[in-house]
Every structure is written in C-alpha cells, then in structure tokens.
Symmetry: C4
Subunit: 251 residues, 4 copies
C-alpha cells in the first residue's frame, strides 16, 4: 500500500517536468527537418537533446518499476514501454527514437488521471499529426519522385490523410513514408470514431434522460414504500393498543 | 433576475433582425467574388455593408454585456465573441471580417433556444460550405497554379471535401486556401459524426423500448406491491377483529 | 375508420404490381443509356414505358388521395409525392422524370410496413447507385472533357463516391453530373451512418444485457418480495392463532 | 443431444489444425504472385497445396453435415459454405478458389466460440487486406494501363482503400481488379463502423455507469427493504408477546 503510494507520488511529481521535456523533444526533432541548412553543431545538439529526453523517460520507467509493488505485473502491463526503452539501444535510427519517445510520452500522459479523455485524444491527434508531417517530410524530401518537399505540403498532406479526404495531390512514394502514412490513416479512423462516439453518447444521454420506463419504476417503488410505511403505522398502533410489545424492538 | 430577463428579452427581440442582417452580409460578401468585374462603387458598397453588419453584431454583444448581471462571467464564457468583435479592428482584412461575423452569427444562433439542434447543425454546415466556397474561390483565383477558378468549381470542391470523398480534381494550392480547406474538413468530420450519432440514437431508442430486463423489473415491483396490499388488508382485518386499533392510524 | 382501411387495403394490394413496374422502369431507363446505338423505335418504346410507369404511380397517388379520410393532412404529409407527380408535367426532361419516379417508388416502398428498415436502406442504396451511374453516364458521355465514358466506369465511379473513397480517376466534369454526384455523396454519408449505427446499436444491446446495476436491482426486489412473503406468513399465523380473522379477508 | 455434442467436439478438435492450414493456404497463394519468376514446379506445388486446403475445408463441411442432427437446417443456415465447396468444382479459376477458401475459413473462425468478436473482426480485416492486395496485384500486373505493379504498391493501395482515404495515385483499371476493390471498400466501411461502434459502446457504458436515476432506484429499494425488515421485527415481537404463534411459521 505504501509502496504503491510511493509510485503514485513519483508519477504525480514528475508529470509536469516530463511533459515539458516532451515539448523540448518535439522542438529538437523539428529543427533539423524544418531547417535543413542548419550547421553541423545545431544538428548534433538536437540529437543529444533527443537522446537526453529519451533517457529521462527511460529512467522514469525504471524508477516506477523499482517503486512498484508487483514488478512482474508492472512489466507485463507496460511491455510497450519496455520495448520503447530498449528499441533505440538496439537500432539507433532517428525514426525509431521518435517512435519510442512518442510511445513513452503517450503512455505517461494516459496514466495522468487529471487529464481527461478528450484532452488526451486531442493531444494525441495533434502530436501524431505534427510528428507524422515531420517524419514524412524528412523521408520524402530525399526521394527523387517525391512530391512532399516543404513543411507546408507535409502538414497539408497529413490533414487530408487524417480526415480521410485524401485528395492525392500530395502522397508519399517511399516505403518508409507510406508506413508513416498508414499510421496516420489508422489514427484518422480512430479520431473519426472518437468524434462520432462522443456526439452519439451525448445524444443518447439526452434521449435517455426522458426515459419514461425508468421514471415509472421509481414512481412505483416510491408508491410501494408509502404503502409499507402506512402498514407499519397500523402495526405499531395495533401493538401499542394491545400494550404487550417490548419497547426495544421498535425502530 | 430582472436584469437577466432584460438580457433575455433583448436576445429574443433582436433574433430575427440580426438573422436578416446575416443574410445581407452573405450577399455583400458573395457579390464581389462571384461578379469580379463589378464596378468600384459596387465593391465599395459591399464593403460598407460588411462593416455595418459586423458593427451591428458587435453592438449586440456590447448591449448584452451591459444588460447581463454577471459581467465577468459573461466575458469569460463569451471570449470567442469578444475576439470576433476585436479582430477586424486590429487587422481589417476581408477574410478576418468574414470569420468574425460568421462566429458572431453562429454564437447568436446557438443561443436562440427555439432553434433545434438539427436545424442549427444543418444551417452551420450550409453556411460553412457557402463561405468556404467563396473564400477559397477568392483566394485561389489569383494563384497561378490554382485549379479553382469558377464558383461552380468552388462549390463542387467544397462538397467533395466536406463529405471526405476528396477526388482531388480540384484542390487548393495556396496556404490560405488550404487553411480554409482544413476548416471545411473538420466540419465535414463533425457533420459525419452528427449524422451517424442521430441515426444511432434513434436506433438505440428503438432497441431499448423493448428492453426485457426493465419490463421484468416493473412487473416484479408491481407483483410486490400487490403482495403488500394484500398484507395490509389482512392486518386491517386482524386489528378490526381485535377491536382495539385507534381509527386515526388507518389510512 | 372504414375509409382509412380502404386506403390501407389498396396500398397492400397494389404493393407488388407497383414494385414490378419499378423494375420495368429501371430497365426502360437503362436500355437507351447502355445501348446508345439502339434504333429510334427502341428509344421511343422506352420513353413510352417511362411515361406509363410514372403515370401508374401518379394514379396510385390520386387513388390514395381519394380513399383517404383526411385529404388536407394527406396532401401536407405527402407534398414530396405531389411534386413528383407534377414535375414531369411542367418540365418533361428525362432526368426529372427519373427523379420523380424514384421518389414515388421510394415513398411507396417506405410505407410498406412488411419491408424492414435494413431492407429499405439496402434497396435505396442499390437503386440510387444504379440510377446515379446511369444518369452520370448519360450526362458525361456527351461532355468533351468527361472521363466517364462506359457503364463500367460509371458503376466504378459511383462505388468510389458512395463509400467516400474518391480516388478521382473518374469524376464528373459537367454541372448536371456534379449535382448527381452530390446526391450520391450525401447518400453515401447516410449509408455510413446507418451501417455504423446498426453495429453500434447491436454492440450496446450486448453491453447492456450484462448490465450489473440492473441485475442488482432485480435481485434486490426479489429479496424484498421474499421478505414480504415471510411477513405475510407470520401475520397469517398470528391471526390464525388469535382465531378472530374473518376468512374472506385472506387471499 | 449426443450427435450435436459429437459435431461440437469435432469442431473444437479440428479448430487449430484447420487454422494452421489457412496459413499454409495464404502462403501458397502469395508465393506465385510475389515471386512471378518462380519455376514451374513451385507454381504447380502451390496450386496443389491450394486444392488440398480447399479439400480439407470441404471435408470438414461434409463431416459436420454428417455429424449434425438436423441436416436440413444445417444446409439452410450454411448455404454460403455449400456454395464455397461447390464453386471451385464448377469453375476452377484461381480467384474463385481463393474466395471459396476465405469464405470457408471465415465461417469456421466465426463459429469458434472462444474467439472474441474484436479478434474476429481484426483477423478478417487483415486477411481481406492481404488477399485483396495479392489478388489485385495478380490481376493488375498484366493490364497494360495498370499502375499497381509491385507488392508494395498493392498493399499501399489496399490501405488507402480500406481507410476510405483514396488518394488515387494507384487504382485498379481492370473490371476484375475493380470488383476486388469494391469488396475492400465495403469491408472498409464495415471496419469504420466497428471501430466507431466499439468506442461509442464504451463511452456510453461509462456514461451510464454514473446514471443518477438507476442509483436512486437501488437506494429507494434498499430503504424500502430496511423498512420491511423493521416491520417484521415489530410483528415478530407482537406475536412473541402474545405467545400464540406456532414456531414453524417463523423464518
């Protein structure tokens, strides 16, 4: 109980600094892609920042693992976090580091109970769109057949993809770019589902609030309770008049 | 209570004239775009009408602000209206004036309690489609690479966008045009959600009306009430026969 | 009551012949479009058949109007039917005749109570897709810029439109063709909504059947009824033993 | 009863070997399409494997038909399986054999009660996408106008189709390819519906769990039960004091 609370306290205290680091990571990822003519020093600094942020989230995972009571269960329910921690060590590609950090940040944000579902979904959609645009731009810019050559095109393309509009005026042509696109499409379907489900739940809640059957039930129960109360009064009167009921049994 | 009612009365009385002004605004916005060879005088008259309608809605906001009881709360809950009032003053661009007026009209229409949700959504969709088409046309017509050159193309494009079909035979190529397009796409997703949610709510309401469990419950309660009624009759008979119950305790 | 029943009897008896006529109409509409080299005689025969079927449905409307009790209400609730009857008389265009007959058939089918909702929606989607394909083909074939030149292209295009996929390899280029396309898109959105709503209603019905709260309620009521039954037995025993309760008051 | 159980036992025991055979079939179908320069021997071996797997599923259908009690009902409710068994015998085309086997595998998987709905839908979507990609590739590669020439293009195209994004950079041009595409589109709509419905059902379940009305009901019933319990105590005391109640009537 106490250890679980230690883990909980850690999670609450590190919440804000870690989210700040996530923003730093996003900037460090964006700079060399948006500004391809940046000097060697800038690019290297950005890479160091990326490794540091990934390291901070990996450390956070390890601390939570140490603080938790049931370690086996923690590893099993957070296997995706474990993959995200190990992946950049095995294959230090830039894209894998991004995927790993986005996963770690996303899992961490989902755990923060003070963040409501709608905020989480909106944040995830914006983050996916931003990282998707950047990743596709960095991949497609080098392809000779590519048609996504500027940040504007990349953002425009990711909007047409996530809303499933898909004009096709810009589309990835490389294998890696298409894999990122598939990720955005699936997120887009999930987004559509969440929007529709939200509206539907709200509509249905309004429909149900004037549910006739339920009201009739409550009325029936209340009428019945009234009946029983009257009955008790009668029985009480009966026993009073017969003068033989012990006082302690009356409530 | 009285002041809130003054605000309420104002809102009800100005509802119709303001909606009429909104139609006038739409016409004044459409004329110079659909008819680009119009004389200087016509274009200027349209601009004056636009400023007048925006002014009327700004005045309406101020009157409501004066009439309301809790001014602080009013400003906080209507911050979007405040932005819409101030925006054209800071940056007198045509597009901003349109966005501001559409926002003010939309907020005003949403407050009108006699307008039902479906009417509001349908109206919002039609208005967004119309203004979206006009705005994209005015932006894209001047772009050398643009492929939206006539009103017909613009309306057709906005339909393919809002329904998320997205053929891609016409698509905006400028940054401003694409920002308007993103607005239409998001409205299209919301439209899809509202349509689906409406149908789903109707389906579920039909499903629930023959809900077996609820009926069993009501039946159970009614049977129980019957039981208790019989019991009361017995007790009444018992007390009558014993002749000792005071009359006042019987209901 | 009797007159309403006369209308009802008419509707039930004419149901099947009218649906047969609808199929004949579809064939008569399709032949000159699919087979553009047909002789003058065939084309004229098809036109005669179209007018005859439209006439039959108009006659059906008039007979129902005569048989109904409240004529004013009938005209008001069936104003779309009235338009469909009058439209081809005012403007004898082929497309208007098609729209009129499709409307009359659709309204008639919806009234047939033995047809279930799913069947109606599926039928409406197939009919709209077929008529949409044919109408777009007949319009676009004559356009010099058109890219829908064969029946195969038209059907393929209508599938990509109704499912909101919208590849854009084929798309209408004429104003009339685009108006038909907008109709198909809106039907596609409705179709998506119906499919999703159907699945959602089924899911929710399954979720609710194992609703824990409801079961606890029923259990609570049953336990309560048990309690009351035991109480009645006690009271009965009490009154039996005191030997004074009149037999008629016991149930 | 016993025979039904025999059928049931057969279905449970053959479940895993048949699913293994389905994977073998998928491999045998994929090899000659992905590797078109394979030697004659490989192609022929793959064809033999396809016939063997189809034969195994046909045999499974016949064994279940023999083991079932009500043969007439089994044939009627499994008419799709019967078609799938007979189709490749009548017309030994490769595509028909694939459709037949996919149908038989799908029906068999749906019957396996231990597989949950979400797993079934996910499996069906992946299988449809894989077979759709392969089938379209094999059809379009031979078309001179085709633009789906590699496995990568085919998978990318099937993703853009099932998510209804539809860029149109790759699209089938032959009749057969388009028929497969329509199948994928319809599956995509169903997929969207299932995703949305799942989220909606989960949302609504959460909304309902804090349903105020229901809680008030349960509270009302519990209060009522408390009342009745007190009443029983009173009656018991009354009867005890009068000393005349037979012991057996008390619970």
């Amino acid at each position: 109980m106490d250890e679980r609370s230690a883990q909980h306290r850690w999670e609450r205290r590190t919440q804000q600094p870690l989210m700040g680091l996530a923003v730093v990571f996003a900037a460090a990822y964006a700079v060399p892609i948006i500004w391809p003519d940046a000097s060697q020093a800038v690019t290297e600094a950005c890479e160091v920042v990326e490794w540091v942020v990934w390291g901070a989230f990996s450390l956070d995972y390890l601390v939570r693992l140490v603080l938790t009571e049931r370690r086996g269960e923690f590893v099993r329910t957070h296997w995706l976090d474990l993959c995200a921690v190990l992946l950049p060590l095995i294959q230090p590609l830039r894209l894998l580091r991004v995927v790993a950090t986005v996963l770690l940040v996303g899992q961490r944000a989902r755990m923060a109970t003070q963040i409501r579902l709608t905020t989480y979904v909106a944040g995830a959609v914006v983050a996916l769109m931003m990282f998707g645009s950047l990743a596709v731009l960095s991949v497609e810019r080098e392809s000779p057949d590519g048609n996504i050559k500027s940040m504007g095109d990349a953002v425009w393309w990711s909007f047409t993809t996530m809303t499933t509009v898909g004009y096709g005026d810009h589309a990835p042509t490389t294998g890696l770019g298409r894999m990122i696109a598939v990720g955005l499409m699936l997120s887009g379907i999930a987004l559509l589902g969440v929007v529709t489900a939200n509206i539907a739940a709200w509509f249905i809640a309004r429909f149900e609030s004037d549910d006739v059957e339920e009201r009739r039930q409550t009325a029936a129960i209340e009428a019945l309770a009234e009946e029983v109360r009257a009955l008790r009064a009668q029985v009480a009167a009966l026993s009073d008049s017969s003068g033989k009921v012990p006082e302690k049994s009356r409530t």
